[in-house]
Amino acid sequence: MSTLIDLILLTLMAITAIAALQLKDLFGAVMLTGIYSLLSALWFLILDAADVSFTEAAVGAGISTVLMLGTLALTRRDEKIPSHPRILPLFVVAITGAILVYGTLDMPAFADPEAPIHTHVAPHYIEKSGEEIGVPNIVTSVLASYRGYDTLGETTVIFTACIGVLLLLGIGRRREDDES
Amino acid sequence: MMPSLLDGLSWLLLLSGCACLLISAIGLIRMPDLFTRMHAAGIGDTLGAILVLAGLMLQSGLSITLIKLVLILFFLLFTSPTACHALARAALAGGQKPLLAEPNADNSPAEQSPS
């Protein structure tokens, strides 16, 4: 059952990506990118990465769509058709994809207890966080101290998103005239 | 209390909700212009969501999940019609005209073309 759902989701994502590439109307391509972002967020959720999925939905479907539309307002909305076939970009993409696929061959098996993620820093955090940080909760000490810069970046993203939402909804702005 | 009855009711709600969603998706494809498509999408956004979420609520029992589902329904019912309304306004402002049945059919003889 879950394999079926995985397959359908991945098919949807592939269709969306190819359609976004084929579309000459760039506004339509931006809309399809939003759908792609929703789908990949759903996919992350199925892979049990709820926080990544959450960020993907907020940043991908929310902010990046708005940013791309803002870019389109400054440029033209039709795709410029290249005059000659592009061999070099295809070559670069193919090589990069091959290297990435080759990289996955060295990855540890799923839920392998000997994987580096379980043997590298996690035991250190569990054993030493009490004396090094002094906070009883290990998750708190990892988030706020060991990965402090990471958390700072995340809160910056959320702060920026909040500001964007407030600006878009026009909260706190006085309007003397009627609605635009 | 009556688990089988609740299960049956929940089945019924979920299935009819999914039917509504499918109908609205088919309408989204089959309808001839933007405004009729919005009409079709409204079925799924309101009735379909209500039925599916109500079916899930019957399964969740009295728990925090129930409250969250009620909140989702509350927000969906607030936001979908608002977004639909904003879309219609933006489309009208952008020059989209609703597709009318025969524009010169009966009550506007003055606009009839000479042919």
């Binding site: 506004f27 709820a50 878009l168 | 899930l56 969250k68 909140l71 608002t82």
Partner: protein, 92 residues
Amino acid sequence: MMFEVAAVALFPAMFLALARAIAGPTVYDRVLAVNTFGTFTVLMIAVLGFMTDQKDFIDIALAYALINFIGTIAVLKFFAVGDFGYQQESKK
């Protein structure tokens, strides 16, 4: 069982909404399709949460419902005024 049926019934609806987003002649059709697709995604996440018995999916569905609304309003505001509303105000 019933959640599986609901999930499987939701996928064709998502396919059709995606087809409208790809085909849509005007940009408003695409916005409508994206909005509908977002609603389907929210319901899908809720159903999947019940199907796999992970009730914390519901929180994410809740957040998605709000994000979807914000995104649609932002896009529409963009199409209605051409930018995000500042140019028009500065003209007056």
